[in-house]
Amino acid sequence: MTVRKLRPLLFVLAGSIFLSVVLLLTGNNPLKFFLDLIRGSLGSASAISYTLQYMTPLLYTGLAAAIAFRSGIFNIGVEGQLYIGALFSALAGCYLKTDIPCLHFLFTLAAAMAGGALWALIPALLKVHLKVNEVISTIMMNYIALNLCNFLVMETDLRVDKSLPFTKNILPSAGLSKIDILSPETMLNTGFLIGIALCLLFAFIFSRTAIGFKMNITGRSVKAASYAGIDVKKIIIRTMLISGAVAGLGGFEQIAGVFKHFVSPFPDGYGYLGIAVSLMAFNNPLFVILTAFLFGMFDSGSSFIDIISNVPREIIYVIEGMIIILVSSKIVRKGGEYV
C-alpha cells in the first residue's frame, strides 16, 4: 500500500479535529467523545458485533457505488435500488413458497437482485437512448422508490395489519441466519460474509476479467473505449444492472437478516453513505471493506455515545459530511471525471 492510499486517513483526522473544535466550543470533552466512540465500536465483543452489523449494508451500497463509479457512471440511485430490492425480497420471502427450502432462499435472493437491477435499468436506458443525465434521473428514482414502497406497504393489502406499518414476516426458509459468535444481541448475520465475498469477487472481476477491464476503460475515457471497439452503451447498461443488483442485495440483507419484513419508513441513508464509502476507497472493492468498516464504527460508536451521554447520535454526520467533501477534493484533482 503506497502512502497515497493512506491519505483518506488524513481526512478522517481533519474531520476529527474540526469536530473536536465544535465539541470544545459547546462545552463537551472531545477526548472523552473519541474514546467513547472507540469504546462503543471496538471496546467489547458486542461492540465489534454491532460495528460489523452496521457496516454490512454499507458493504453492499459501497460496492454498488464503486462498480458504477469505476465505469464512469454516477449512480446516485443506490438508495432507491436498495429500497426496491428490499421490497422485492420481503414479498418473495413471504409469498414465493416452495417445498424445497434452498430454492426459496435463492428465489428471494434473485428477487432482490432483479428489483435493484430493474430500478437501475430505467436510468441506464434513459442515459443511453435519450441522453438523460444519470445523476438527476437516479435522484428522482430514489424519491419515487421511497414513496412507492411506502405507498405499497401502507396503503395496500401487503400491509400485515392496520395498526402495524409493515409487511408480513418472511418465512424462515428465506432468512439469513444470525452470526452470534461475538454477541447474541446484535443482528449480525451471514449477509455480512456474503458482502465481503462480493467485494472480493468484484476486486477479482476488475483486475482479472475482460468485462472488468472494459468497465475500467469506459470509466477512464468513453472515447478511448469506443476507439478500442468496446460497445460503450452495452457496458453502461450492464454496469448499471450489476450495480443495481448489488444494491438490491443490500436490501435483501436488511430484510432477510435484520428486519424479516419491510417496515415503513425503511431506514434511509445507506445509499448516500455508500457513495462516501466508495469514494474514500478510491472506488476499489477491496478498500470498500475497510472504509465500510470505518463507517460501521461511526454508526455503532455514535449510537453508543447517544445512549451513554448527552451528545446526539447525529453528531457523526458532521465528520461523515466532511470526509465526503475532503476525499473527493483530491480525487477530482487527479484528473478523470468522477473517479
Binding site: 446516485i76 443525465n133 438527476i136 428522482m140 411506502n150 446526539p312 454526520y317 459530511g321 467533501i325 477534493s329
Partner: protein
C-alpha cells in the same frame, strides 16, 4: 382573518419551494449544480429559529438566517470551484454535514432535544409574498434584461470563452452562490416562522423538489415559478383530500415523476446551461 387563513394555506407549501428554486436558478445559471439547497434551507431555518429565540426580532432572525445560508453558498462555491470537487459530492456532503450540525447544536442549546419551539405569533405570509414578487422580478430582469446578467449566464454556458472576453468567471460564480444562498435562506426562515418550531431535518427534501422544479422550468425564472406552483399544488391536493382520494405517498411522488418525464423529453426538450456541473482549470 379569513383572508390570512386562506393566504397562509395557499402560500405555505409554495414559499419555501419558490425561494429554494430561485436559489437553484441563480446557482445553476452560473454553472454550479446545487444539490446543497437542502442544506441552505436547513441552516437558515436553524439560525432563524435560534436568533428569534434569543432576540425576539423577526427581522434580525431572517437577516442572519439569510447570511448564514449565504455563507453556505460561499462554501459550496469554494468546494466546487476552488477545490474542484464534483458538484454533486459537495452538495451531498454539505447536506449530511448540516443535518448533523443543526441537530447537535439544537441538543446543546435545548437540553438534549431534537427540536425547539419559537414564540412567534405573527403572519409571515404577507411579507414573504411581497418578497416573492420582488425577487421574481429582480431575478428575471437581472438574468435576461441586463448586461451583467448576460455575462452571468455566459459563465454557466461557456466559461472559457467568457474568460477570454474578460469576464471574471470566479467572481461571478462566488457572488452567484452567495446570492443563491441568501435567497434560499428566505425559504428556510419562512419554514421556521410559519411552523413556529425547528425540528430535525425540517427541510424534508424540499431542496431536492426545488431542484426538480428548476429542471422542470428549464432554468428560466418564470417557468421555474410555474413549476413550483405545479409542485406546490400537488401538496395542496394532499392537504385538500387528506389522502382519501389519492394517497399521500403518490402525491409526494408526483414532482419527481413529472421531472423524470420532463427529462425524457415528453413535454419539451430540456436545455440546461451548457457547462452545468463542469469543472474548469
Amino acid at each position: 382573518m379569513n383572508l390570512i387563513k386562506t393566504a397562509t394555506l395557499i402560500l405555505t407549501p409554495f414559499i419555501p419551494l419558490y425561494f429554494a428554486a430561485m436559489g437553484g436558478v441563480l446557482s445553476e445559471k452560473a454553472g454550479i449544480i446545487n444539490l446543497a439547497l437542502e442544506s441552505f434551507l436547513l441552516i437558515s431555518a436553524f439560525i432563524c429559529g435560534i436568533v428569534f429565540h434569543f432576540t425576539r426580532s423577526p427581522l434580525l432572525a431572517v437577516l442572519t438566517a439569510c447570511s448564514a445560508s449565504a455563507l453556505w453558498g460561499f462554501l459550496h462555491f469554494l468546494f466546487t470551484t476552488e477545490l474542484r470537487i464534483n458538484h454533486i459530492i459537495s452538495g451531498l456532503g454539505l447536506n449530511i454535514f448540516t443535518s448533523g450540525l443543526t441537530v447537535y447544536l439544537t441538543s446543546v442549546l435545548f437540553n438534549e432535544e431534537r427540536s425547539f419551539h419559537i414564540p412567534y405569533s405573527g403572519h409571515p405570509v404577507y411579507l414573504f409574498f411581497v418578497l416573492f414578487i420582488m425577487t421574481l422580478v429582480l431575478v428575471s430582469v437581472f438574468l435576461h434584461g441586463t448586461g451583467i446578467g448576460l455575462r452571468y449566464r455566459s459563465v454557466g454556458e461557456n466559461p472559457l470563452e467568457a474568460r477570454v472576453a474578460g469576464v471574471r468567471t470566479g467572481r461571478y460564480k462566488a457572488w452567484g452562490l452567495v446570492a443563491s444562498g441568501f435567497l434560499t435562506g428566505l425559504g428556510g426562515a419562512f419554514l421556521v416562522l410559519q411552523s413556529g418550531s425547528f425540528v430535525k431535518d425540517i427541510s424534508a427534501g424540499r431542496g431536492y423538489i426545488a431542484l426538480a422544479a428548476v429542471i422542470f422550468g428549464n432554468w428560466k425564472p418564470l417557468s421555474v415559478t410555474m413549476g413550483v406552483i405545479i409542485f406546490a399544488s400537488f401538496e395542496w391536493l394532499g392537504i385538500f383530500f387528506q389522502g382519501s382520494l389519492i394517497p399521500n405517498q403518490i402525491i409526494s411522488m408526483l414532482p419527481y415523476l413529472v421531472t423524470l418525464l420532463f427529462l425524457m423529453g415528453i413535454f419539451k426538450k430540456a436545455s440546461p446551461p451548457a457547462s452545468l456541473g463542469k469543472i474548469y482549470g
